[in-house]
Amino acid sequence: MEAIAFYVLAVLAVASAIVVIVHRNPVMSALALAVNLVTIAGFYLVLRAQFVALLQVIVYAGAILVLIVFVIMLLNLREELKARSPGTFQKWLGPILALVFAVVLGRAMLAHAAPSFPAPVPGFGTAAALGIDLFSRFYYPFEVVSLLLVVAMVGAVLLAKRRL
C-alpha cells in the first residue's frame, strides 16, 4: 500500500516539477508547483511525518503559492517570450553541470541510506512530539526565526512599496 502510494507520488512529483520548469506560462508553472507541493506533502504522510505534511499544505500551498499566483496576476504576466538563447555556454554547460551535481549529490545521500526504514517510534511525527522539541531544545532558533520573519516582512514592504 505504501509502496504503491510512493510510486504514484514519485511519478506525479517528477512530472509536475518538469512542468514547472518547462512550461512557458507562469500561471501553469504555478499550478504545476501546487501539484508538486501537494505530492511532497503526500511523501511526508507516507514517511509518517503527519504534522509536517500538514504544515506543508498550509504554508506552501496555502500561503507561498497563493502569494506567487497573486503576484503573477498582479503583474499580469504573459507567456514568457521566446527565450533568447542564454548562450551556448550556459545552454550546454548548465545541464551537464546539473547532471554531475545530481549524480554526486545522489551518491552522497545514498551512501547514508539504510536498506529499509525501521519500525516507526510511537508518537513519531505528531504535533506533540515536535512541539516539545521545538519549545525546549530548539527554543532559541525558534525565536531567531521569528525575528527573521519580521525582517523579511519589513523588507518586503520596503521593497515593494512605491514610495515611502
Binding site: 503583474l75 542564454p86 521593497l159
Partner: protein, 99 residues
Amino acid sequence: MEPRLVLAVSAVLFTLGVLGVLLRRGAITILMSVELMLNAANLAFIAFSRQAGTAEGQIYVFFVMTLAAAEAAVGLAIVIALFRLKGTTDVDEVSLLKW
C-alpha cells in the same frame, strides 16, 4: 519503499530545480524553481528523520519552511520592484551590474 528511492526522488527534484534556475528567464519561474529545490531538500530531511527515528529532521524542515516563506516574500517584493522599474520580469534585462 526504501530510503534510497525517496532520496533518489529528492535528488531528481533538486536537479530539476537547479535546471529551472539555470535555464529560465522569468524571475517568478526562477523563484518557483528555488521552491522546488527547497522542497527536495525537505524531502531528504524527512526521509532521514524517518530512517533515524528522531525528530530533528522534521524540526529542520520546519525552519526551512519559515525561511522559504521569508524568501518568497522578499523575492516577490524584488520582482515587483523590478517590474516597476523595467516593465518586465526578465532577469536578463537587469544586467547593469557589470563592466
